[in-house]
Amino acid sequence: MNFHTYAGEVKALDGVTFLVKKGEALGLVGESGCGKSVTALTIVGLLPENASVAEGEIMLEGQNLLTITHDQMRKVRATKIAMVFQDPTTFLNPVLTIGEQLEEVFLLDPERLAREAAHRNIEIGKEEPGRGAAVHKLPKSQQKKVAKALSLDVLNQVRLPDGERILKQYPHELSGGMRQRCMIAMALARNPDLFIADEITTALDVTIQAQILELLRELKRQLSGSTLLITHDLGVVAELCDRVAVMYAGNIVELAEVKELFANPLHPYTQGLMRAIPMIDRKLERLETIPGSVPDLIYPPSGCRFHPRCPFAFEKCKLEKPELLHVEKGHTVACHLYGEGKA
């Protein structure tokens, strides 16, 4: 996937392949600018105008999201995929109340509203509920009532019990942590099959981060869908994810189960990352950094994009791009050190 800019073609993503299993939490880690958010935006189809996908496919339950129509994609966004973004201050509309922004998600699915209304015995009209009648659309005013009830429910789910009041408030009247919970609530409202969290704790204070992470851990138990957790913080990954993929300069370089990755990082970049963060169970004199800097993606390095900074680089690394190969028990790496031949 590329960005067309006045400076040149930015080859943002070049070889991103992974799959998220049902019910699991996959972490996507990497430095700033490695393409994690862009990957998420590509999945949801919300790339800016100057971006285009050159080739590839995104499969969700058998459908290739890159080939469906605009309207179909909208449906997908409304019911199957939900995304929560990094900065709750800029991502919430300042002139609409939380209630309006939350209820509109529910109002997109009138059948569900009707079902819920029957289910909860909310007044449908003068007829007795439980008539066994077909599920129609409710009149607008009733739809709003049901939507509001559902909103209060979902706010409870994100541990915002004072729902009645919050629904009437505007984003700027809430604290950062509360706003982020509201955004999460908007995502939960759809009961999504895929929940994408794009650096949702980065903009928050450490204490609030902890709260949100706690919340996510709980939700993970309750949710039936899968989660794609994007972050640059390996600590978050360790806490919440089942599997993790490491990204560098628009490529996935390693993918494994969390415990496996931490115990046995294979790719030189992953190893570098591990060395750069303090961990309680290791005794270190200094934190090491990875020498060099992130490459310019208009003119990316040839072959393996990490080779200029890799301590183990050899000739082949400059010439040929390594593919993601399976090394052992679900652990895959894209590095010539673990060349072909290892099944």
Binding site: A82, N93, V95, E104, M183, R190
Partner: protein, 333 residues
């Protein structure tokens, strides 16, 4: 609020300076029937021989009481003469604003949505032309085309001047309730005159509004473009909302905020264009009164017009501030 009062005081200082310092102070209060002997009494009543601060204080005090001086060309006190023509100007200005907003805002939105494509270029050209057109000339050309040429060709045409057809009015007299004839004829059921009034209103209000149209359209376009780039629009789209909802519910309310602020400026432009437009269309409003006053050297009237115009502008900006607070929940007063 306090600022408003201060500003109005400042405006009175300017009119005071112009009418009493640059011009003969006596002329403000003399009528055509004033006789030689009365002059000393007038001078004493208005303290015209006292030092400036006192004179100014008396001047303002009289303004508040409604004594704005006397207009010799009208043979009426200034406030009375102005007041009689006030509704006509308000009617014209309001109609002009309606044109401006009805055309400017949608054009601006379309321009932003079809950014850099044909409708955008066309709209921008129209806006640019609007800002560059002399309003008095536009009025004349409109009269030429829609009155004269249409009439020659035997087609139905629009009237070229005045507020209503005087001969028609004799048979269907207008009862003045608010002074705004559009409303008056409607509530008194005088439909014949209602149509006539509207017909007379179209051309002048369009001419007056055309200028501000360009300004509003550009601001709307600019702020819409700005809003559509914001993060919360990405979130809205990610919820699966239809594009229409995203634009009209999420984007528009935000985009209106800067536009409303500019609308205040637009009112200033309308007030400035009023004298020109009213002159060209023989519209019996305050603007034309002021212009005629120039020809007759009637300074008190001109100063009166200046004061009223400033007052209207201040009130308009107040309304803008209130609207602004309504649109943007982050603002608290």
């Amino acid at each position: 609020m306090f600022l408003l009062v201060f500003v109005l005081i400042g405006v009175t200082m300017i009119t005071f300076f112009l009418s009493q310092v640059l011009l003969d102070p006596l002329s403000l209060y003399m009528t055509e029937r004033t006789r030689e002997e009365s002059i000393p009494a007038i001078i004493q009543y208005y303290h015209l021989n006292d030092p400036w601060p006192i004179r100014y204080a008396v001047y303002v005090w009289n303004l508040i009481q409604g004594d704005w001086g006397y207009s010799r060309s009208l043979s009426q006190p200034v406030l009375v003469g102005m007041g009689a023509r006030f509704p006509a100007t308000i009617e014209l200005a309001t109609a002009a604003i309606i044109w401006t907003l009805l055309a400017g805002i949608p054009f601006g939105i379309i321009s932003a949505l079809k950014n850099n494509k044909l409708p955008d270029h066309v709209s921008r050209l129209v806006a640019l032309t609007g800002v560059s057109t002399p309003v008095f000339w536009l009025g004349l050309i409109l009269q030429l085309v829609f009155f004269y040429y249409l009439a020659i060709m035997g087609l139905p045409h629009l009237p070229s001047n005045g507020r209503y057809d005087t001969t028609l009015e004799i048979r269907h007299p207008i009862t003045s309730v608010t002074g705004l004839f559009v409303i008056d004829t409607l509530i008194t059921g005088n439909f014949v005159m209602f149509q006539d009034i509207l017909a007379h209103l179209i051309l002048p209000s369009f001419a007056l509004g055309f200028i501000s149209l360009g300004v509003i359209m550009r601001i709307m376009r600019g702020s819409m473009l700005e809003v559509l780039r914001q993060d919360y629009i990405i979130l809205a789209r990610s919820k699966g909302l239809s594009e229409r909802v995203v634009i009209y519910r999420h984007a528009l309310k935000n985009a209106m905020i800067p536009t409303v602020t500019v609308a205040g400026l637009a009112v200033a432009g309308l007030l400035g264009g009023a004298p020109l437009t009213e002159t060209v269309f023989a519209w019996p409003g305050m603007g034309r009164l002021a212009v005629n006053a120039i020809g007759r050297n009637d300074a008190p009237l001109i100063m009166g017009f200046t004061l009223i115009a400033a007052l209207i502008l201040v009130v308009a900006n107040l309304i803008v501030d209130i609207l602004y607070a309504y649109l943007d929940p982050r603002i608290k007063y």
